[in-house]
Amino acid sequence: MQPGGPGIPQCNARSPTLFTINTWLVCSLLANIFVAIIFPFCKRVPLRYQMKVKVIARNPDDYVRETKLDIQRVPRNYDPSLHPFEVSREYTRALNATKLERVFAKPFVASLDGHRDGVNCMAKHAKSLSTLLSGSCDGEVKVWNLSKHECVRTLQAHEGFVRGMVVRYCGTSFFTVGDDKTIKQWKMESPGYGEEEEPINTILGKTVYTGLDHHQNDPVFATCGQQVDIWDEQRSSPIRSFTWGVDSFSSVHFNPVETELLASCASDRSIVLYDMRESTPLKKVIMTMRSNTLSWNPMEAYYFTCANEDYNLYTYDMRYLAKPITVHMDHVSAVLDVDYAPTGKEFVSASFDKTIRIFAKDGGHSREVYHTKRMQHVICIKWSADNKYILSGSDEMNIRLWKANAAEKLGVLAPREREAANYSQKLKEKFQHHPQIRRIARHRHLPKTIYHQTKELRVMKEARRRKERNVRKHSKPGSVPVVSEKEKHVVTVVK
C-alpha cells in the first residue's frame, strides 16, 4: 500500500495541476471532432467519464408526506443489524407493559343495588348480552339492564329463597324454583299497564327444589332437591326421577355440548352423572368433602369443574373420575360457585372468603383475585357471554360487575391501539418468566385477613407434609405410600 502515492489528486481545484487541466481538456474537447485525432497522441489523459459511479441520492418527496392531511411516511427496514439490542429493548418494553398493566388494573365496573336481601342466584339471558336476572333470599327476582346499570323489572316470585333460576334457550321466558316448593315459568317481557305480574305456569311440587337447569335446545328442564327430576315443559309431573340413595342435591347442570348429559352435586359429598335417556344414573364420584356446584366446560365436553367445601376447585374428566385433572387452590374458605368463560379457557369462582378468583382451566393457582372492602360472602357468579365481564352476587344485596381482564381498555379500540395492545400482550408472555417481570405481574394486594389466612394455611400444609414425611421415615418402607394431591381428595368412584 502506498499512501499518498503519485496518483492521489489534490483537493484544491484551483491549483494548476496536470490533472485538472487534462480533465478540463477532455471536457472541452469531447464534443469536438478533433477528439479522434488528439486521443491517440495523449495517452496520459485519464478518461474520467468512463468510470461508473453511484452514490445514494434520495428524493425527499419519497420520504416526506405530500400534504398535511396525510399521515407521516415511515419507511421500514427490518435488517437486524439496524436494530441492535433487540432483546434488551424488548425486555424493557415488556417490563414497561407489565408495569402499565398493573397501573391500569381497575377491574371493578359497577355495582347494581336494589335487592332487599342477599342475592342467591343469577341467570344469564340466552340471547341478550345486556340482560341479567337475579333472585334474592326474600323471593324477589329482578331483571337488570347491564348497559344502563338499572333494574328494569321486579317481581315477587316466591315465598322464601329463590333457589334456582334459568332462562329458556329461546330467551322468551324463564323458570324459577323456590323454597315454597314451586317451579314457576315467567314471561321475559314485563306485563303491560294494568296487568298483574303472574307466572305463565306454576308447578306445585312435594319437596323443596334447590336447583334448576334447562336443556340447551329441547323443552326439557331438570330440577334437584331430594331427587333429580327431568321435566317436560308441557307436563306438571316429572318425566323421569333419579335417586341414588342420597337425601338431597344442591345443584344440577346440563352439559352444554353433549346436551343429554347432566351432573349434580349431592350432600353426601358425591358428584353424580346422569344420561337423560337412561333410567338410572351413570356413575358418581365421592370426595372427602361436599361440592357446592359444578360447571361444565363449554368447549371441552368431557371436562367439568366443581366448587368444593375444602377451599379447592377440582377439574374432572368425566371418563376418568378416579382422580381430578387439576386441583385449583387459592381460596381460603369454602368455594360457593363457579362459572366457565365462554371460551372454555378460564373459569371464575366465588367463595365464602369474600373474594372472586379467576383460574386458567389447567392452572393450579389463580391468575387474578378480585375483592372490595364492602363485598361480603360471594354466593353466585357468572361469566358474561361476550367473555368480557364477570358478575357476582353477594350476601350484602349487591350485584357487582367486574372486568374479566382487569387491565383491559373498555370500548372500541382503534386498529393501531389494538395492535399495540396485542404486541404488548405478546411481549409480556415472552418475558413472563424473568424474575423482575414475574414479581410485578404476580403482585396482588389482598385484604389482611385473607393474607394471613393464606399464610396460616401454608404453614398448616407444610406441617402436615412434614408429619407425613416423618411418619413415612419411621415406618416400614412401603407401608405409608405417597399419595398425590390429586388423589387425596377422592374417596371412591361408584358405577
Binding site: G4, Y49, D79
Partner: protein
C-alpha cells in the same frame, strides 16, 4: 363493467376486432377463444366484452390456477401453473434475518412445552420469511464506484466523482476552510442530518449539512477536546479544557458537569442514553443523559485515555492504551472485561464495526490490525508506511484511515487481504477527526484547515428504518421518537459482552442458586438447626444423658448419609454391570448359526 345485455347491443359495430398486443401468458387462451367464437352462434364479441373477459382471466390467474370459473361456457382446460407455490426466497436473504438455530425438540412427555416451542418456531419462521420478502421491496440501492478496466478507483479524484454524479449528490462534496481555530473534531447525529464541529481552539459549530444551514456557532474560549451529539440534534456535549459542558442547538450552555474533568474522548450509547467519557486522569465515566446522573466512574489505572470507541452491537467501550493493549469495559464492572495486546507500540486508534464482529486497530508500530471481537483473535495485519492516526468504519464496512494529511478508504478489509485503497484523498492539514455519515455516502474529515465532506460511494446504508433513525423526520416525529426512545431506555445493568444473553435460559444449578440466595439473605434458609435436647425431668437430663441423646441423633443422621451413599454405590455398580453385560452381548454378536456351536 358491461353486463352481458349490453354486450349484445354493442354487437353491431364490431366488424373488426382490435388486436391487442400479444402476451406470452395469453397465447393459449387466445387460441381457445378463437375456437369458441367459431362455435358460438353469436359470432363475435364486442371489444368491451373481450376486455372484460380478459380482465377476468387475468384476475383468475392471480388467484389459484385450479379454481374453475363460474360460468360453464368459459371453462378452460387445466393448465399447470408454471410457478407453483409461493415465490421462493433467496437463501442468503433468509440467512440475514435468522435469529437463532432451531431448538432440539423436548421429550414427548413434555407435550405442552413441545407444543409451545413448535408454535413459536413456526411464528419466527414466518416472520423471517416475511422480512426476507419485504427486503426485496426496499426502495434504495447502495452506491458503488468502478473504474475503467486498467484504472484504480483510488486514482479517481473527488472533483470527478462530484462532477459525475447528480447535482444534489455532488453538493455533498464540499470544503469548509476554517484555518483559524483548527484542527477539528466532528460528529454526525444518529440520523446523519446534522454535523457538529469542534475546533481545537474553541470553535464549536453545528450545521444541518445537507441543506448547509448553520444552526449555531460559538467559541467557548477554551480548548475543545471532543464533541458529541446526544440522543437528538437538540443537544450536544463538548469536552473542554477542564469540564464537560452540554449545549443546546442554539449554542446555549445547559450544563457544566464538574464531575467529569479533563475529558479527552467521548462516546454516546444511543439506546442506553449513556455518555461515556475517557479522561486524561485515566477515568472512564458514564453519564446517564436522561436523568443527569453519573452511572459509573471507573479508574482504569492505565494513564491518559485518548483512544476510545464503542462497540455498537453490545455497547461495550473499547479503550486503547500507550502500552499497545486494548481494553473492553462495561459500566457494571470495575475491572476490564477483556485486555488484548494488539500492538507493539501504543494504540493510536480503534474502530468496531456495526455488527460487533470486527475490531480494527492501528498503532505506533505503523500496523493496521483486524480482530474478531467475538473470539478476540487476530484476523489480518497490514503495514501502513505512515501509520493511521484515525480510523472509522462505515455502515457497510468501509474502513477509512487517516495517515497524516491523506485519507484512505479501504474496502473489505476484514474479509480478504487488501493491497490497494478503494479511495484516497489528500487534504491541506493533518487529519484530526474522521467520521462516516450514517445513511449517506459521505465521509466527514476534520483537519487542520477546516472540514472536508468527501463522497465515498458505497459507504452508507441506503435504506433507513423510519422508526429508528429517520433523516427526514419532522419535528413532531422527532418528539414522538424521543418519548418512545426514553420509554425503552435500556438500563446500564444490561450491558454485557453478549447482548442476547437476556433471552437465554438461566441454567444455573441448584447449588449455584442456593449460594446466590444465601448471599442475598445473609444466612442460609435451609440450614439445619442444631439439635438441642429437650429438658427432661427426674434426673434424666444429666450431662451424660444429654450427651448420649445428642450422639444418638448425630448417629441417626450419619446413618442416613451412609445409607444414601451405599445405595448410590450399589446403583452405580448395578448400572456398570448392566452396561458391561450389554457390551459383552454386543461384542459377541450372535448369528443364526451360533446355536449349532458346542
Amino acid at each position: 363493467m358491461a353486463s352481458p345485455g349490453e354486450a349484445s347491443v354493442d354487437e353491431t359495430h364490431v366488424g373488426k376486432k382490435k388486436k391487442l398486443p400479444a402476451r406470452y401468458w395469453q397465447e393459449l387462451q387466445e387460441e381457445e377463444r378463437k375456437d369458441e367464437n367459431k362455435v358460438k352462434s353469436d359470432g363475435e364479441q364486442s371489444k368491451e366484452a373481450l376486455q372484460q373477459e380478459e380482465d377476468k382471466t387475468q384476475k383468475a390467474k392471480k388467484r389459484k390456477q385450479d379454481q374453475s370459473p363460474s360460468d360453464g361456457e368459459k371453462v378452460k382446460p387445466e393448465k399447470s401453473d408454471p410457478f407453483p407455490g409461493p415465490a421462493p426466497i433467496p437463501e442468503d436473504r433468509l440467512q440475514k434475518f435468522k435469529r437463532k438455530d432451531k431448538l432440539k425438540k423436548p421429550h414427548r412427555k413434555q407435550h405442552k412445552l413441545r407444543d409451545i416451542i413448535a408454535r413459536s418456531e413456526d411464528a419466527s419462521e414466518m416472520a423471517q420469511k416475511q422480512a426476507a420478502r419485504f427486503d426485496l421491496l426496499l426502495p434504495e440501492e447502495a452506491g458503488f464506484l468502478e473504474g475503467d478496466e486498467d484504472e484504480d478507483t483510488c486514482m479517481i479524484s473527488q472533483e470527478d466523482i462530484a462532477e459525475a454524479v447528480d447535482i444534489t449528490s455532488g453538493a455533498k462534496y464540499f470544503n469548509l476552510k476554517l484555518s483559524q481555530f483548527g484542527p477539528y473534531r466532528l460528529d454526525y447525529s444518529k440520523t446523519g442530518r446534522h454535523l457538529l464541529l469542534g475546533g481545537r481552539r474553541g470553535h464549536v459549530a453545528c450545521i444541518d449539512w445537507a441543506s448547509k444551514q448553520l444552526m449555531c456557532e460559538i467559541n467557548v474560549m477554551e480548548s475543545v477536546n471532543d464533541v458529541k451529539w446526544l440522543h437528538t440534534e437538540a443537544m450536544y456535549a463538548v469536552a473542554q479544557k477542564k469540564w464537560l459542558y452540554i449545549y443546546d442547538s442554539n449554542g446555549i450552555e445547559l450544563h457544566c458537569i464538574r464531575k467529569f474533568n479533563d475529558v479527552l474522548r467521548m462516546q454516546f450509547l444511543p439506546y442506553h442514553f449513556l455518555l461515556a467519557t475517557a479522561s486524561a486522569t485515566s477515568f472512564l465515566q458514564y453519564l446517564d443523559v436522561s436523568v443527569g446522573k453519573e452511572v459509573a466512574a471507573i479508574c482504569t489505572k492505565t494513564g491518559r485515555l485518548d483512544v476510545m470507541c464503542q462497540n455498537p452491537h453490545n455497547a461495550i467501550i473499547h479503550l486503547g492504551h500507550a502500552n499497545g493493549t486494548v481494553t473492553l469495559w462495561s459500566p457494571n464492572q470495575k475491572e476490564a472485561l477483556v485486555k488484548m495486546l494488539c500492538h507493539q507500540g501504543g494504540v493510536r486508534s480503534v474502530a468496531v464495526d456495526k455488527t460487533g464482529t470486527y475490531m480494527v486497530t492501528s498503532g505506533m508500530d505503523k500496523k493496521l490490525k483486524v480482530y474478531d471481537v467475538r473470539t478476540f483473535k487476530p484476523l489480518k495485519s497490514y503495514f501502513l508506511s505512515a501509520g493511521a492516526a484515525c480510523l472509522s468504519l462505515s455502515q457497510r464496512g468501509l474502513l477509512s484511515a487517516a495517515t497524516g494529511d491523506v485519507v484512505q478508504v479501504y474496502k473489505d478489509v476484514c474479509s480478504m487481504p487488501v493491497t490497494k485503497p478503494y479511495m484516497a484523498h489528500r487534504l491541506r492539514g493533518t487529519v484530526w477527526g474522521l467520521h462516516f455519515c450514517p445513511f449517506e455516502d459521505v465521509l466527514g474529515v476534520g483537519h487542520g484547515d477546516g472540514f472536508t465532506s468527501m463522497l465515498v460511494p458505497g459507504a452508507g446504508e441506503p435504506n433507513f428504518d423510519g422508526l429508528d433513525a429517520n433523516p427526514y423526520r419532522s419535528a413532531k416525529q422527532r418528539q414522538e421518537w424521543e418519548v418512545k426512545a426514553l420509554m425503552e431506555k435500556i438500563q446500564p445493568e444490561l450491558i454485557s459482552l453478549d447482548p442476547t444473553e437476556l433471552a437465554q435460559v438461566d441454567q444455573a444449578t441448584w447449588e449455584q442458586r442456593h449460594q446466590d440466595r444465601v448471599e442475598v439473605l445473609g444466612f442460609d434458609p435451609l440450614a439445619k438447626e442444631k439439635f438441642v435436647p429437650k429438658y427432661k425431668k427426674k434426673g434424666r437430663s444429666s450431662a451424660g444423658a444429654i450427651e448420649r441423646r445428642k450422639k444418638q441423633v448425630a448417629h441417626e443422621e450419619q446413618r442416613d448419609v451412609i445409607r444414601k451413599s451405599v445405595e448410590d454405590k450399589m446403583k452405580m455398580e448395578k448400572e456398570r454391570k448392566e452396561r458391561e453385560r450389554k457390551k459383552a452381548a454386543l461384542s459377541t454378536q450372535k448369528s443364526a448359526l451360533d446355536r449349532f456351536k458346542k
